[in-house]
């Protein structure tokens, strides 16, 4: 039957393909609309049309007429929402990669103690005034990423010592225990240097209230670098999602690929933590929500997770700003509440469907 064969051929061809341009434009459109909503909404509401014109003039580098809203939008909300969107995208992509790599739905960028390590690094940089000579603000970022990598190395070294095959179960177990240890050290640092280091809530619940354009720039670079690396390994992540044995049998260099993916995740998570603290549940919940729409194929899932994570965190940040306005909640409170409810809902429906 020629028609049927043609249909099969198309479905097979689709298996390796990512989305077409139209779908990406659709995702970008939704993300932009959410972005516009979040920038224009706040304790001082700004009409969406005026916000859009202001953003357009900023992009085209045209002179801005000085209105009451200019400073609110360009100095405060725009850099904050930019950082929120980029952090959401990076955490979501990291979580997606970790869930595929470790074949575990509860994995995310914090699974290997990377988030906790990055928090400790950033807090230590602030507490002990560690800066780089020419780039004073970079000390926090650099130490956060270095500690994120160190955490990765330590957890994998312990896991390797326990189990030479570096099985995913051993990695997760060691990561969870390591995160507990590092969190206790972080509490000590915060306790003894409370005059300098932001309070412990910042490192455990996160906040992007004071985020600026420098943070957005660093986040953009890390998301671009980490995102490209992870998308390059989308095929390998698909194989890992079926199982490590499956990946090895089809020819994936399991150890090498795992190292590269973990390093990319550490980079992105470390930078996110340095900018906005440790924001829970984004890397866990956003990939699960997106996977319901895209399916498990990482060629489609990874790019969609970037857009989905950005939208999810922007809406959570908006809620954090508006629920008890003018009091602002830590963003992690909202992500944890919304994320956990959504997560349980998804699992409940999934299990019910299976039964």
């Amino acid at each position: 039957m020629p028609v049927k064969e043609k249909g099969n051929e198309n479905s097979i061809r689709k298996a390796r393909r990512t989305y077409g341009l139209f779908v990406y434009l659709f995702f970008a459109g939704i993300t932009l609309l959410t972005f516009l909503l979040c920038v224009s909404t706040g304790s001082v509401p700004v009409p969406a049309g005026e916000t859009a014109r202001m953003l357009l003039r900023a992009v085209l580098r045209q002179d801005q007429p000085q209105t009451a809203f200019t400073s609110i939008i360009l100095s405060s909300r725009l850099p904050r929402v930019l950082c929120v969107a980029l952090t959401g995208a990076a955490l979501s992509v990291s979580g997606t990669a970790m869930q595929g790599l470790l074949k575990n739905p509860l994995a995310d960028g914090s699974t290997l103690g990377v988030s906790s390590g990055a928090s400790l690094g950033a807090a230590a940089a602030i507490a002990f005034d560690i800066t780089l000579p020419s780039l004073p603000f970079a000390g926090t970022f650099v130490l956060a990423v270095v500690f994120a990598f160190l955490s990765l190395l330590i957890t994998l070294a312990i896991a390797w010592k326990m189990d030479h095959s570096l099985s995913t179960n051993t990695i997760i177990l060691v990561g969870v225990v390591y995160a507990m240890l590092v969190n206790s050290i972080l509490s000590l640092v915060v306790t003894f240097a409370s005059d300098k280091v932001k309070n412990i809530t910042f490192w455990t619940m996160g906040s992007l209230a004071g985020a600026g354009y420098s943070g957005a720039l660093v986040l953009s670079v890390s998301l671009a670098a980490g995102g490209i690396i992870l998308f390059r390994f989308a095929g390998e992540l698909n194989a890992f999602a079926i199982g490590e044995d499956n990946a090895r049998n089809i020819g994936v260099d399991v150890r090498r690929v795992r190292w590269i993916i973990l390093a990319a995740v550490s980079l992105m998570t470390g930078i996110c933590v340095a900018v906005g603290g440790s924001i829970a549940f984004v890397g866990l919940a956003a990939p699960h929500i997106v996977r319901r729409i895209t399916g498990p194929n990482h060629y489609r899932l990874l790019p969609a997770a970037a857009f989905g994570g950005a939208v999810f965190l922007m809406l959570c940040d908006l809620a954090a700003r508006m629920i008890l306005n003018p009091v602002q909640l830590p963003i992690g409170v909202v992500t944890s509440m919304v994320g956990s409810v959504l997560f349980i809902g998804i699992f409940y429906r999934g299990r019910k469907g299976q039964v």
Binding site: E5, S11, I12, R16, E236, I242, R248, I250, G295
Partner: protein
């Protein structure tokens, strides 16, 4: 047996040559100095009681566990090959597979083409037929991964799942799932197929289908199979050569009928296997 000279391919050299292969798990030696060679066209059977080292042998050959000894692929040290190169030569269908991710059948089978994919930059300069032919050393490959779509389509057709390319693997029965992964390994287009109990937990219909598919697959010149089996009737029906494993060693090796002789089986299983099998089959005479 002809020893190959260096890395040069020779039709007389064995496809896979294993010498002194040993594996230890801590103090316990799971595999003790095993020797065997597989030639093109041969179907090898690996039999023996539970815990005798069959799966360890499969894992050692496919580098799933650290091992000592020599493993050569057409004269070349297998341990020096990268993972992708090895997967282009040796395909593995593993035992006990549980899936919990809703990939489509087509997506799973397409993963089998990984070993022949050329990455982002390679694709830009690759024509549909690819450039692998020269590296496959004298084999004609009618349906290979040179065109992924064609390879997947042929593999699905071979296992009779062409109509199910879009179905989620979570919706399949155990037998259908095993055929999907067999299609994946067919799409991988290896020269040697290693299967660890391919019909484990499958009913007789699927068991028959799987072994008939393998019998069809090995007809193409330049291919060979190594299968772990528990059912000695299947071993006799399909195997030409065999290794009877016992406590990590080869109790017997060579022609499958000699390997599965009454005395060898008595020594390894500690019972008269021939009489037991005859008694079982005798139930059908009435």
């Amino acid at each position: 047996m002809n020893q190959s000279a260096g890395n040069t391919f020779s039709n007389n050299s064995p496809m896979l040559e294993v010498r002194g292969l040993s594996v230890s798990y801590g103090e316990k030696q799971a595999l003790k100095a095993l020797d065997f060679s597989i030639q093109e066209g041969e179907w090898w059977i690996l039999a023996g009681p539970n815990g005798s080292g069959k799966t360890t042998l499969v894992n050692a050959v496919t580098r799933g566990v650290p091992s000592t000894g020599t493993i050569r692929w057409r004269g070349k040290n297998l341990r020096n090959m990268n993972s992708r190169e090895m997967a282009g030569h040796i395909g593995v269908l593993a035992q006990n597979r549980s899936v919990d991710v809703s990939f489509s059948v087509g997506e799973v089978v397409q993963m089998g083409c990984y070993a022949h994919s050329t990455g982002w930059f390679g694709k830009l300069f690759r024509n549909d037929r690819g450039n692998k032919e020269s590296s496959r050393q004298g084999r004609s490959i009618p349906a290979s991964c040179f065109s992924e779509e064609r390879a997947v389509e042929d593999a699905l057709k071979a296992v009779g799942l062409s109509e199910m390319a879009d179905r989620s693997i979570l919706e399949l029965s155990g037998g259908e799932l095993q055929r999907v992964f067999l299609a994946q390994v067919f799409a991988q287009d290896p020269e040697l197929l290693i299967l660890d109990e391919p019909a484990n937990h499958l009913d007789l219909v699927y068991q028959k289908q799987i072994f008939e598919l393998l019998a069809e697959w090995i007809r193409t010149p330049g291919r060979a199979i190594l299968t772990v089996v528990h059912d000695l009737s299947l071993a006799l029906a399909f195997g030409q050569k065999g290794i009877l494993m016992s406590e990590g060693k080869a109790a017997a090796s060579g022609d499958v009928r000699e390997v599965l002789s009454r005395d060898h089986l008595q020594a390894v299983y500690g019972m008269d296997v021939h009489s037991w099998m005859r008694k079982m089959l005798g139930q059908w005479d009435e």
